[in-house]
Amino acid sequence: MAALETYSPFTTQETAVAPLLSKGKRQDERFPEEFRQIFIKTGTVSSAAGSAYVEFKDTKVMCSVFGPRKALRTNAVSADGQLNCDVRFATFAAAQRQRFVQGTLERDCTTLLQNALEGAVIRESFPKASVDVQVLVLEANGGEAPAIITCASAALAHAGIQMRDLVTACSAAHVGEELLLDPTDGEERRAEGAFFLALMPQSNEVTHLSLTGEWTPQSMAEAMELCTDGCVGLDSLVRDCLRATPPSRNTKAKGT
């Protein structure tokens, strides 16, 4: 059947432009340096070797890890294991319906996730095999990238894949003089600069960092400090969660 020609009747641009900050608080009643409500759960997908679900309030991400298992493509050059990441968005995740195919957004997120995790996963520990990280974004309301990375790293740990450290990620936006931690999509659109950090908090090593827009060296340093604290906070949440639901290796045939 030919695809229907349809359009959305909903307007996406905000009509009344309310200030991002009033009386020191944001539109959703948060302080500038406050996270949204975070929920992390591991062990959400029964047939996966490891899985996790992460919620930054209305940004919801789910991740399954399969393997180590037989790789679909063999790598002739290296004997190290392959880390394959794939990020998809549900059709109803954003304001406008998206078709369920790999578009630019999915590819960008996949690359970002791959970059952020590569440094942490010990690929020598599963030679010639592959570990597949499958992510589905159920709802996107800003901060997808940090949620995706945190969720994937929790799922990898839950799967018992050897890693140097967990990777957690965090974003910040600057609006005028103010720095906003964990911006929503509305705040992201109106920010003058965006800062993104993926960190291995225990070893304090950066796996991925990006910076766009206008930044002064001073505001950059502040953002770095703010996001580092954010990543450390997320790290302890993920660790608490992993302690509560320990990896369930060898209880069932998995990931074949």
Partner: protein
């Protein structure tokens, strides 16, 4: 060397799954402890995704489905000028199971999409004219996408339940048609059209602005609530709601969908190694009736309306 009995059982299960399973069936019980006719714990939650216009999360045991509806506008075709459509897609992304690896949609998902679409767009189940905005000009398209988050057997029943809950969760917004013929749900434009319509009513004349087509906000509703039960046949035993491990051992499956009056909406038996006798079909229908009684209170609770009368 001491080997524990637990280990032996696990090894036996892997090497001889059919024999392992038969030992349970002969005792009229299943490896997960269920009697043959019992379904796994089921839950339904509506409004799981705030960005969707209607949504639902359904769990049957481990099997998890999330359904979301996105509303868009289309121009109806000439031969069906007063109806909209519901576009159903069941997706099984690679995240849901180890056996799905990236690439084409799975056969199971495609077959489920097709069957759910047939059930939900049947005039006895869903009146497509409620999606009409202006005859011949504009109608709603409800894109109903159902994502499998965890595939542990019986995908179809969970997907249908999620689809029904998500579709009933939809409220069509008030819309008005702009001068260029496009439909908008923009609050300012709708408010203006409402004011114009009121003026036209009061003055009793139909001026140009008063004829702007305006539909008010309304909830979608189903004429009847279809709920399905899939049973599997294994070595002559009929088992309800098979999990993923059981599905691999089945000779065939039979899905019976009923409505609240206990009437058949759909029966589906997709081939398989064996046929199903009249007696087995009757058993399936009877089990489906019992299942309906289990599930309909869950749906009623989330949709907040009496649907059993």
């Amino acid at each position: 060397m001491s080997t524990s009995h637990a280990l032996d059982a696990e090894a036996y299960r892997k090497i001889y799954p059919a024999e392992f399973y038969k030992k349970f069936l002969d005792e009229k019980v299943r490896p997960d402890g269920r009697p043959l006719g019992r379904c796994r714990a089921t839950s339904v939650a509506a409004g799981a995704v705030s960005k969707a216009d209607g949504s639902a999360l359904v769990k049957i045991g481990n099997t998890t489905m999330i359904a979301g509806v996105k509303l868009e506008i289309m121009r109806p075709t000439d031969d069906a000028s007063d109806v909209g459509t519901v576009e159903v897609t069941v997706e099984m992304p690679p995240l849901c199971s180890a056996s799905v690896r990236s690439g084409r949609p799975t056969e199971e998902a495609q077959s489920a999409s097709q069957r759910i679409s047939e059930v939900l767009t049947h005039p006895a189940v869903f009146d497509l004219t409620q999606l009409c905005i202006a005859k011949g000009q504009a109608a709603w398209v409800a894109y109903l996408d159902i994502f499998c988050l965890d595939a542990d057997g019986n995908i179809f029943d969970a997907a249908l339940l999620a689809a029904v809950a998500a579709l009933s969760d939809v409220t069509l917004p008030a819309v008005t048609v702009l001068e260029d013929g496009r439909v908008t749900a923009d609050t300012a434009a709708v408010a203006e059209a409402q004011a114009n319509a009121k003026d036209a009513m009061q003055t009793g004349e139909e001026n140009a602005k008063g004829t702007q087509i305006l539909t008010s906000q309304r909830q979608l509703s189903l004429k009847c609530v279809p709920i399905g039960l899939t049973c599997g046949l294994n070595q002559g035993h009929l088992i309800a709601d098979p999990c993923a491990e059981e599905s691999g051992l089945l000779d065939t499956t039979i899905t019976v969908i009923l409505n609240e009056s206990g009437e058949l909406v759909s029966v589906y038996k997709p081939g398989g190694n064996v046929g199903a006798s009249d007696a087995i079909l009757m058993d399936c229908i009877e089990m489906s009736r019992l299942r309906y009684k289990e599930v309909s209170p869950l749906l009623e609770k989330v949709l907040g309306k009496g649907m059993s009368e």
